[in-house]
């Protein structure tokens, strides 16, 4: 993090909106295409169950304020979600228009229209008075915690969000591709929640604030700290200059105006984050960007529309290649040695394993390497938390309530769902907040 003013000017120029805002006339026209399905599949497909036909009809009627409120009642981060959501597999993917050979309604852009209008005109009001003695701590400053905190605060609870980063907002601030969501927009939402009376405190729980102190002061603790840093490749040369994992790379280009990018960039991994990093490298001025994935196009976990987008950005894809060493003879990455792989037998999940082919090694010369593997390492904190069960690399919870195996702790977001979208985190946070409130009020 630097003191750079956000959004960075370079990013405004190079990361123009992927889906530009609608003006009010085109928003009304688009809103009027919506059939207004009853018990609409788009609402069902939205993890936060935003009443999509209702907010869209309000845009059509010219009641944009009512539209924004409809969205916010369901999803306090309606702005971030309108820009960051993979709508193709959510609301827009469920639109009945698909069954009629017609273009689905542009729900994401309509939501953005209503949210931008709302945030531009928003004036802070008086926070809801605190009505309950029980205080709640939310660990992590990302979407899950913010949604949990906002819901509880609206119900009259005092809430503190603990986050160790310079800026709150978690991955909504630091982790979404700039052409979808800028940090300044995520921060507007944080400001709104702060104005509602939620306290944001920059501190690392477990280090700056001991967990037992937290447990004494707060009646309930919500775990919304996400997944932590990205996995390492586990190969020689990984810690040299010119190697930066995708999440750190994205965080830096979004918040620093002087991030250098390589001439030839190798991105390793086949997920959505790999694609975000690769597209960013192209836009930041890399001459060539190559994605290497150890399986094939078919197994690649990225959304198909993200893959298509990367191809449009002129990212090169290489299948069946696994890195074995980063070459850095002069203390700086100069290339990656790969081994070719072949797909073997399917594993327990049905996905075919990539197995190295002996003697097939090759070197790819490059001057920047961006590993983009998953995130699975939890903060130390969780290992020491009393009585919280972890299953399949995730905090085990009762899904409808977010309750963990320790009755004082609730959890949601990436640390529970393994790393999904902002909207999933918001849904988790809100469900947990309601369960916590229920617990306080009715035991």
């Amino acid at each position: 993090m630097s003191d750079t003013e956000l959004p960075i000017k370079r990013n405004l120029e190079r990361f123009a909106d992927l889906h530009p805002a609608l003006d009010s006339k085109s928003a009304v026209t688009e809103a009027n295409r919506c059939l207004g399905c009853f018990d609409a599949p788009c609402m069902d497909a939205c993890p936060t169950h935003i009443d999509v036909p209702r907010f869209i009809k309000k845009i059509a009627s010219g009641n944009v304020r009512g539209s924004a409120r409809t969205i916010l009642e369901a999803n306090i981060l309606g702005m971030s979600c309108s820009r960051a959501c993979p709508v193709e597999v959510l609301c827009e993917g469920a639109c009945v228009m698909h069954r009629y050979n017609k273009k689905p309604i542009e729900i994401g852009r309509l939501q953005r229209f209503a949210m931008e209008d709302f945030h531009e005109k928003r004036k802070p009001g008086a926070p809801v008075p605190v009505r309950h003695a029980e205080k709640i701590a939310c660990i992590g400053g990302g979407p899950a915690s913010i949604a949990c905190a906002a819901e509880l605060r609206q119900q009259g609870f005092a809430v503190t969000v603990f986050d160790n980063r310079p800026l709150p907002g978690g991955l909504a601030t630091y982790g979404v591709a700039e052409y979808k969501l800028r940090p300044s927009d995520s921060l507007r939402e944080v400001e709104m929640v702060r104005d509602m009376g939620v306290e944001f405190r920059r501190a690392e729980v477990g280090k700056d604030v001991p967990l037992d102190a937290l447990e004494r002061e707060y009646a309930f603790v919500f775990l919304g700290m996400g997944l932590g840093a990205m996995d390492m490749l586990g190969i020689p040369g990984e810690d040299t200059r010119g190697v930066i994992d995708a999440l750190r790379f994205i965080e830096r280009y979004k918040t620093q105006s002087d991030l250098p990018v390589g001439r030839i960039v190798a991105v390793i991994g086949g997920g959505n984050t790999a694609i975000d990093a690769a597209n960013a490298a192209v836009r930041l001025g890399a001459e060539e960007v190559h994605i290497f994935y150890r399986r094939t196009e078919k197994e690649m976990p990225a959304f198909p529309f993200e893959y298509d987008h990367a191809k449009v950005e002129a990212v090169h894809f290489h299948w069946l290649a696994q890195p074995v060493e980063i070459l850095a003879p002069n203390g700086r990455a100069e290339g990656v040695r790969f081994v070719k792989t072949a797909l073997g037998a399917p594993d327990a999940t049905g996905r075919r394993n990539a197995e190295p082919v002996q003697g097939s090694e090759f070197v790819f010369p490059c001057d920047m390497v961006i590993p983009a593997l998953g995130q699975s390492r939890f903060l130390e904190l969780l290992r020491t938390s009393p009585g919280i069960t972890i299953e399949k690399k995730a905090v085990a919870v009762d899904r409808p309530t977010g309750r963990t195996t320790n009755p004082k702790y609730f959890a949601g977001g990436d640390c529970v769902n393994g790393g999904r979208e902002v909207v999933d985190a918001v849904a988790d946070g809100k469900r947990a907040a309601r369960a916590i409130a229920q617990e306080v009020l009715h035991g």
């Binding site: 009853f38 497909a45 069954r99 999933d424």
Partner: protein, 456 residues
């Protein structure tokens, strides 16, 4: 190949598409461009003592993102000198002898003034005259336009004056702003009219600016009621035209006006007995060029139906418009939903439930509100292949098949509402059900019964 040539009140034109007296016919230059584009005739913007117009003059109603579903104007008759209009009319007639040029007239309600304007218009070469008894604003405050057209005696009298001087056919343009348009039509007939045109614009206030609270159109912070036209008025116009064409006491050629924007509306007016149609708003919206598809579309339709000329289908629908008491009460239809086409929007379901007769259902019979609440409780996740595979899911979510509602045919009253709201073509069809009962109208069922009329 269809022949679109028509003869209306003895005036021939290449097709039944005439421009109505309005801004598109304000000058000779415009009308010649319109004829070049394909229009068959034009009724000149009403000629009379030149007026002063306001700014602004028009306002409209947008609907569902579409512009100008209805247009309202407070413009008066021509603001150009009579001599200019008539000189240009002569020029147009000289250059376009085969096209119909009609002079629309409106002057002070004095016999000699009418005689004078009629003669001058005919001397300029007008093929016929249209008496503007309909302008609903401004002119009516000065004793002209609708002030004449709303009083049968005045309509009759001024028609007589015009006819005293006229050598060409005279039609009277009727205002819809009356309780019974037939009375005015009969009065015009009595005055000697050779034909009628209907309808003129409908009294209207299109709306109010909710920021300034000023009605539209805004003339320096004030407004006045105007005349409404455009696609929104077609059903009203069709009904009024049908009232006139079905009245045996009128029996005059009628030029249909009101919301004609394409060949389909033109066909509808002609099917109800009109000899031709007049168009204004659609041209104000899109320009003269729209006539190309009007000609093309009507010709293609006529070819498909086997009609060679406009006369072949004129009035064919008239016998099918009846009073309600003659309709068959034993005619039964029910809604059928084509499951293959259903997209699952449930609009038919909620429309029937809230707006009709509660006979469309889902598998699980529960009130709509319960269903909606249940779907909100569901836990939904963004499908992410890698994570879902680890949990045994199917990767990218597949859209569930739509739940197709079904119709309780015993309960269905055959009202059409579900088919009207269904967004998919041919998905809900209304199917005839044989009842085995004979045709029986209300009149037949209640034969002999005498109903008292209000006031009796």
């Amino acid at each position: 190949m269809a022949d679109l040539k028509t003869v209306f009140m003895g005036i021939s034109s290449p097709n039944p598409f005439w421009l109505a007296s309005a801004p598109p016919t304000n000058s000779g230059e415009q009308i010649m461009r319109a004829f070049d584009a394909g229009w068959g005739g034009a009724v000149w913007k009403t000629i009379g003592e030149p007026v002063v117009n306001t700014a602004s003059r028009y306002s409209s109603v947008d609907w569902n993102g579409q512009r100008m579903m209805g247009l309202n104007n407070i413009e008066l008759i021509s603001d150009r000198p009579i001599e200019d209009n008539l000189r240009e009319m002569a020029e147009v007639k000289k250059r376009y002898p085969k096209h119909a040029v009609i002079a629309s007239l409106m002057v002070e309600s004095k016999r000699e003034v009418w005689h004078d304007i009629v003669k001058r218009a005919e001397d300029a070469g007008a093929d016929g005259l249209e008496l503007n008894f309909g302008c609903p604003h401004g002119m009516s405050e000065r004793g002209m336009g609708a002030a004449v057209g709303q009083v049968p005696e005045y309509s009759c009298m001024i028609t007589e004056w015009a006819k005293e001087a006229a050598r060409t056919p005279v039609m009277v343009k009727l205002t819809p702003n009356v309780t019974d348009i037939r009375l005015i039509a009969r009065a015009a007939k009595k005055g000697g009219a050779d034909g009628l045109s209907a309808i003129n614009t409908i009294n209207s206030i299109t709306g109010i600016d909710l920021d300034t609270l000023i009605p539209r159109p805004n003339v320096g912070g004030l407004s006045a009621h105007g005349g409404y036209c455009g696609p929104a008025v077609k059903p009203i116009a069709l009904h009024l035209v049908q009232q006139i064409t079905s009245d045996p006491e009128v029996a005059l050629p009628i030029s249909g006006i009101g919301g004609v924007a394409g060949w389909r509306e033109a066909a509808e007016f002609i099917l109800l007995g009109c000899g031709n149609v007049q168009v204004c708003t659609a041209v104000m919206h899109y320009g003269y060029r729209i006539v190309e598809d009007m000609i093309d579309g009507l010709s293609n339709w006529m070819d498909e139906k086997g009609y060679r000329t406009v006369e072949d289908f004129r009035g064919l629908t008239m016998p099918r418009m009846k009073e309600w008491k003659h309709l068959d009460l034993n005619f039964k239809i029910v809604a059928r939903i084509n499951a293959d086409k259903c997209i699952g929007c449930d609009l038919c379901y909620i429309a029937c439930w809230d707006g009709a007769h509660q006979c469309i259902h889902h598998e699980v019979k529960e009130p709509p509100a319960v269903r909606e609440a249940r779907s909100r409780q569901r836990i939904t996740l963004t499908p992410i292949a890698k994570l879902d595979q680890a949990r045994g899911g199917n990767g990218h979510g597949e859209a569930a098949a739509p739940h197709v509602p079904h119709v309780d045919e015993e309960e269905c009253v055959g009202c059409n509402l579900c088919a009207l709201v269904c967004p998919v073509e041919e998905c809900i069809t209304m199917e005839k059900v044989e009842t085995g009962k004979p045709v029986e109208s209300w009149e037949q069922r209640t034969a002999g019964r005498v109903y008292s009329k209000p006031g009796q």
